[in-house]
């Protein structure tokens, strides 16, 4: 995976093995915390995988907003003289809380949980999860799979047909 490239908007390419490994780590976190929903996304807001109740929550929108949240507060961090972005963001509601953490510079973990679950527990398990994910992502550095190999010429033909159908051309 091109983990190093992701932060500057370069392609992030996730191999099948890495996807499986990340999914296992998140399943473990979901089981331990009883969080409502867990989303792992890249810093540009593309959701990678999710756990828990995923039908009630709009995953792409949550991931895009989470990435926006981090982007906005990174600028705040700069203004107050922080060396990097904030490590985590926390939003407290009446029924649900949202806990967002940075995973390396290029990914984020978004956890939605009921207010009756202690924040301390979420923090402890999330910290361990982030350590595991960081280790996995660092191991993957150097693995190269190219985006240009993903999309063949046939894909363009099919895509155009589908676009014409969807757009009523």
């Amino acid at each position: 995976m091109n983990v190093e490239k992701g932060g500057n908007g370069q392609p992030v390419v996730l191999s099948g093995e890495m996807y499986k490994a990340i999914s296992e780590v998140l399943s473990d976190l979901a089981a331990k915390t009883r969080a409502k929903t867990i989303i792992f996304a890249d810093s540009n807001g593309h959701p990678i995988t999710q756990r828990g109740q995923t039908s009630e929550i709009n995953i792409p929108n949550m991931a895009a907003l989470g990435a926006g949240d981090f982007a906005a507060t990174s600028e705040m961090a700069k203004i107050v003289g922080e060396p990097g972005r904030f490590k985590y963001l926390y939003h407290e509601g009446e029924k649900s809380n949202v806990y967002l953490s940075s995973v390396t510079d290029n990914f984020l973990l978004l956890i939605v949980f009921d207010t009756n679950i202690a924040l301390g527990m979420i923090r402890i398990f999330t910290k361990r999860t982030i350590e595991k994910l960081t280790e996995l992502l660092n191991e993957a550095k150097g693995e190269e799979q190219k985006a240009s190999e993903f999309l063949d010429v046939e894909f363009s033909t099919y895509l155009n047909k589908e676009l014409d159908k969807a757009f009523n051309f």
Binding site: N8, G9, Q10, P11, V12, V13, L14, S15, G16, Y19, K20, D42, S43, N44, G45, H46, I48, N58, P60, N61, A64, L65, G68, A71, A72, E75, Q145, K146, A147, S148, F150, L151, D152, V153, E154, F155, S156, T157, Y158, L159, N160, E162, L163, D164, A166, F167, N168, F169
Partner: protein, 196 residues
């Protein structure tokens, strides 16, 4: 861009850029309104009380499996007003393709130019440039009586000969032509660029 080989999924980010009130959000509203709900998500708008975009709008298109792959197109707008410069820069992070929505009205030429220069400056900061990046121009508000001639708009704004479309975003004229064109440009750019 984000590719998940396990799921054969590709996520692409397309940003609508342009001066304030040129019609960027109107494009997304029309796309959202016209497309079948099965292939598009909910439209998220982070706007002020006056309905001006504060941070961004977001709409995801997911067309299902195409040739065994699942492409997802994430459409964003930026806030056009001058003082939201930081937000515009943040939203460009990770961009794969751009639609520059220009306001055709004669008196908006200066703002179109300023915003285009602002875009080029922000692209350079992320290591890209308008000369080589996939983008298209949409000349919006063609129905207004004070709309500038296309030849003048082209001469002033389209130095790099990007594909251009005439539009009236409020009634959908040119909206889907623009979207189809940028999607094709993005895909072709990825296919042609072996370094990606």
């Amino acid at each position: 861009m984000f590719i998940n080989w396990a799921l054969q999924e590709i996520n692409l980010k397309i940003v609508y850029y342009g001066p304030g009130l040129s019609g960027k959000t109107t494009n997304l509203i029309y796309i959202h309104h016209k497309l079948d709900p099965s292939i598009r998500g909910d439209l998220v708008s982070l706007s002020t009380k006056e309905d001006r975009t504060l941070f961004f709008d977001f709409l995801q298109l997911e067309m299902g499996k195409i040739g065994g792959k699942t492409p997802k197109f994430n459409l964003y707008t930026v806030p056009g007003q001058v003082y939201y410069a930081t937000s515009r820069k943040l939203i460009l992070n990770g961009v794969d393709g751009l639609v520059f929505v220009a306001d055709s009205q004669k008196e908006r030429m200066e703002e179109n130019l300023d915003t285009l220069l602002d875009l080029e400056k922000n692209l350079i900061e992320i290591g890209e440039t308008l000369q080589s990046f996939p983008w298209v121009i949409q000349y919006n508000k063609r129905d207004l009586p004070n709309a500038e001639k296309i030849s003048t708009l082209q001469r002033n704004l389209n130095y790099f000969n990007a594909p251009y479309f005439e539009s009236q975003a409020h009634n959908g004229t040119g909206v889907f032509q623009t979207l189809k064109s940028i999607i094709n440009r993005v895909v072709a750019h990825i296919q042609a660029n072996g370094n990606l």
